[in-house]
């Protein structure tokens, strides 16, 4: 677990580092340094409007004076990326969470193979820097649609132990996961971050080629498709502590229904990824749709932004 406090911060740097990708640099307002983080961590960032989104840290984990993250403009997304692109200037206050480890390096692997799709490249700069400090090697397979979408290439080029292989699909050069896995060293660990399509392809290929799950590390940054995340059959939530019943209609998430009813459930990604909106589950026929809880955790917890139920689901609220 990590502290869930928000740190008052200010935007001190903004730069467009590739087509549609803006890099943000934050400094803490009331402390000298941000809390320590391990490479491969993400943070929740709170826009002044109150909207919360999670982003991988893309700066060197050893530099605690600043936090850096990059946001891809997604006009068809849930609105967060547009707000971060169009409604934040240098000097603006934002709040940022303590860093949460996610795509963490295996301790003893001599080689680390990174697979990035589009904006999924963000965690790999701090990861490659950490691999370099450890005296190990890394390879980054980086796929984008067009060359103008490539980010961080200059920084990657400065890391001696990192080899970068770029795949640009508009130029007819697609990343082939099976070919990539065929060349995987038997002791190497594989890390992938990108759209669900890429992660599924990596999972499937690893299964086919018998790459053990202990060597595979995946991070989804998008979670469920926003329309799918909110919809489903209607059901009822029974709040055990406050003795209330709240109806969840077909077109709303449980989180929305709870917050519309004034319950005040914390949240962040709204895609089943970050776990901020988890609530203790008491009983009920639950349809878990998150991608962050283990099976053991699902027995007693529910992620309210995406998961649903049949009939009546009782929560410890």
């Amino acid at each position: 677990m990590t502290k869930r406090l928000l740190i008052a911060s200010r935007v001190v740097g903004l730069s467009d580092i590739a087509t549609g990708i803006r890099r943000f640099t934050l400094r803490p307002e009331r402390r000298e340094l941000f809390p320590p983080s391990v490479a491969g961590s993400y943070v929740t960032v709170r826009h002044q409007s109150g909207l919360l989104r999670t982003y991988s840290l893309c700066g060197d984990a050893d530099r605690r004076e600043t936090f850096e993250f990059a946001v891809q403009r997604e006009p068809d997304g849930r609105g967060g990326s547009m707000l971060f692109h169009d409604d934040i200037d240098i000097g603006d206050p934002v709040h940022v969470s303590y860093p949460i480890p996610s795509l963490v390096l295996a301790e003893d692997a001599p080689e680390h193979v990174f697979v990035a799709g589009g904006i999924g490249v963000t965690p790999f700069l701090p990861l490659a820097l950490e691999v370099d400090r450890r005296g190990q090697r890394s390879v980054l397979h980086y796929a984008v649609r067009s060359r103008s979408q490539l980010a961080f290439l200059e920084e990657f080029a400065g890391i001696a132990s990192l080899t970068v292989k770029v795949y640009v699909s508009s130029e007819g050069n697609r990343m082939r996961i099976d070919a990539l896995l065929a060349g995987l060293n038997a002791t190497a660990h594989l890390y992938a971050c990108g759209p669900d399509r890429l992660l599924s392809a990596v999972s499937d290929a690893c299964e086919t080629m018998a790459v053990g799950p202990e060597r595979i590390h995946l991070e989804s940054f998008s979670g469920l498709d926003p329309a799918k995340a909110r919809a489903g059959d209607p059901f009822t939530v029974n709040l055990r502590l406050s003795k209330r019943e709240i109806a969840v209609p077909a077109d709303k998430s449980m989180l929305q229904a709870l917050n519309d009813a004034g319950v005040g459930v914390d949240y962040s990604c709204e895609g089943g990824v970050c776990g901020a909106c988890r609530v203790t589950l008491v009983s009920g026929d639950v349809i878990h749709r998150d991608i962050c809880l283990t099976d053991a955790a699902r027995a007693e917890t529910i992620i309210t932004c995406v998961s649903r139920g049949r009939g009546i689901v009782t929560l410890q609220l």
């Binding site: 677990m1 990590t2 502290k3 869930r4 406090l5 928000l6 740190i7 008052a8 009331r30 402390r31 709170r46 709040h95 004034g262 005040g264 914390d266």
Partner: protein, 164 residues
Amino acid sequence: MTSSAPETTFRGVVAGLYTCAIAGEEMAIRQSLTLIAGQGVEGDRYLLGTGYYSRRPHEDRQITLIEAETLESIKRDQGIDLPPEETRRNVVTRGVPLAHLVGREFRIGNTRLYGGRLNVPCKYLEDLNDRPGVFNALVNRSGLNARILEGGDIHLGDAIEALA
């Protein structure tokens, strides 16, 4: 026998002052606070309506207090080192039996307050600070929620005393 006046012999002081502007934000350590009668603490989330419990407003949540002695006790007896700013209360007191102030008026510096009700600990606090055990450790000694009757500035070291 004649009934005696309520016990007012203690004289405590302000040992720490804290605010934060939104729910879940790290508390800022302050040298002084401005109390606004009937509303709350200037710059604090419960005056601004941005607190975790702001959806359930209560006149006794204008300002919150906790005893420094409680923090020392849970460190000594339970090994939980809870920094005062992580209690998320506005005022840390020293030498004040806060439970005795429920239903009574008291002064901090030149301000006048009313002890509304004892604070109850919440899992929210434990979760925010990632300090397992804090909830149980604070049961029955989680501080005091109070109403501001006469506002003004309060400072570190200001005297706290009950009014008869």
